[in-house]
Symmetry: C2
């Protein structure tokens, strides 16, 4: 480890979400040595959120017994369209009033450290590509299934963000023209069929229609505190209804995978996000089978379809990777 | 024009299709100065088709009053998965028995000229990018609507063909999970909803259900010789049924465009192929409106959605562009 120059050795990765700010300090071996998590308080507006990011960065450095002067750079993954060159958040559906916010500039002013900003799904696929796949594959499609579905693309060995920095909006790929309404206003988007929100809606609708499930025993009738882990627990305790709903979501994810394989011909498809972290064992075989059934002949030869092992850490890891590149 | 070295000045572009072989000689200004068209006779197998390509190249050179020695290189667009580096046709659904055919090697042996081979939709998008868009946009999605639907991607300024050389198989992007059966075995593929075949099927089904159309007057009851141009003629003569079918296909194409915009964030989306050549005036406004209704906010800012003016010449033009690069 290049201890001689700790300034460039340690970096901080931040995952800015609609509900929480997750930050981690990474050592020169890209190992996470400290983390902090605070709520975003998004409703307080951009300035207050930026202040909370500053505090998170200061706190997590302190947690790792480091001074900010010892941090080479800070990387941030933000939930929206981001211009990575200028570090501006163009818009962010889950962060009220965020429109053309110069996040990099504001943070550098307050922190006195180099800051790099990218879209959250983009940093996650960078994290998986670099830390989990050792940077080897030339093309990776990352599919992150959580409240919504985000995507990130590694093409020709590098992050691909497209003309308007919006590439990877795979959650709004329409796959069922007559499907359920999506938050975006359209019908049958990928995320209206296979995200955690879609799964939870289908479970609640099933219960209303008289389906029996262990979830009501576990969580009460309103299921307000339901999490992806609860679904795994219910399935492992023999809940056929939840098993069926999850299988159906896995089939939609498999169709999403095959669409992206047909369009982009990647070397690796990696699935991540909270839903996959909780339910990969239950979903992966269905996802892979459905993708193979639907992808064109020849497109999947030698292609890996895998669940990421980074889980919730993909975002802070990828942000740290981008920070490390910016610090050099 | 570099007349001093005609050897590198003229190239030949070939569009190898399932039914015809279309070849053109291009001068140093990338103007097409002669063309020939012969039937492919695909059922005779790879060797016979390769012989017919050789003859097409010889004939079109002669048509332009050139000797083969004056041709810098030959480019070929082939209908299937092509390894552009080795010039091998990996598989081609519409060419019986074509599996790992070393087309470049065989043609170079017979012609004594440098040959470059690529997928047909890929060469078409190269042709549009270079000849029509002057190479300016960094990212272009080409959508070619004919018997099927093919796609080609220009990303970071260069043709993108992916890990297995299959990128751009957009015709088999599933957009209606409960839609009509596709030739590939799946249901609701883009090309099962919006290709010429899909449009013709919908027209024939409508007639069986009692729809009235001028097409039966124009072509007889079986409609066996129906072409895209006939649909345009019928619409211009006031055929409401055909107009409705074409509008529906245009809506599906608009959804295909918005999916690709959400996923790839291109700078230009260009629509080509026989259906667009015949019906662009009837379809483009519906395509653009539907794409705008479905694409995510911010993704279409400054993005052009246009119909190619190259028409049937996109393939030979793009093949000529690749030939010119290979000849250098």
């Amino acid at each position: 480890m290049p201890e001689a120059n700790p300034k460039n050795g340690f970096v901080i990765g931040v995952d800015l979400g609609g509900t929480k700010i997750f930050a981690g300090v990474f050592n020169p071996a890209l190992e996470c040595v400290a983390t902090t998590k605070v709520s975003t308080k998004a409703q307080r507006g951009p300035d207050a959120v930026i202040e909370r990011i500053v505090r998170s960065v200061q706190d997590v450095a302190d947690e790792a017994d480091l001074d900010l002067k010892q941090i080479g750079a800070v990387g941030i993954g933000a939930p929206g369209a981001v211009d990575g060159d200028s570090g501006t958040v163009i818009f962010a559906p889950n962060l009220p009033d965020w429109k053309d916010v110069p996040l990099k500039k504001e943070l550098e002013k307050r922190l006195g450290i180099t800051v790099v900003v990218e879209n959250d799904a983009n940093v996650s696929v960078v994290g998986v590509h670099e830390a989990e796949l050792k940077g080897k594959p030339r093309s990776v499609v990352g599919i992150f299934v959580g409240t919504g579905i985000g995507g990130g693309l590694i093409l020709n060995g590098a992050l691909y963000s497209g003309f308007n920095h919006t590439a990877g909006e795979i959650g709004h790929m329409l796959i069922d023209v007559n499907g359920p309404k999506c938050g975006c206003g359209n019908k049958g988007c990928f995320e209206a069929l296979a995200s955690r929100s879609a799964i939870f809606q289908r479970i609640k609708a099933g219960i209303k229609e008289g389906e029996k499930t262990l979830l009501t025993e576990m969580l009460g009738d309103d299921l307000d505190d339901m999490r992806s882990n609860d679904l795994r627990k219910a399935i492992r305790r023999g809940d056929k209804f939840v098993e069926h709903v999850i299988e159906q979501a896995a089939e939609y994810i498999g169709i999403g995978v095959s669409n992206l394989v047909n369009i982009l011909g990647p070397e690796v498809v990696v699935l991540g996000g909270g839903v996959m972290e909780a339910l990969a064992d239950e979903m992966m075989s269905v996802i892979i089978k459905t993708a193979k059934d639907h992808a064109m002949p020849g497109t999947l030869k030698g292609v890996e379809i895998i669940a990421s092992k980074l889980g919730d850490n993909a975002g802070i890891t990828g942000s740290a990777v981008l920070a490390r590149r910016a610090a050099k």
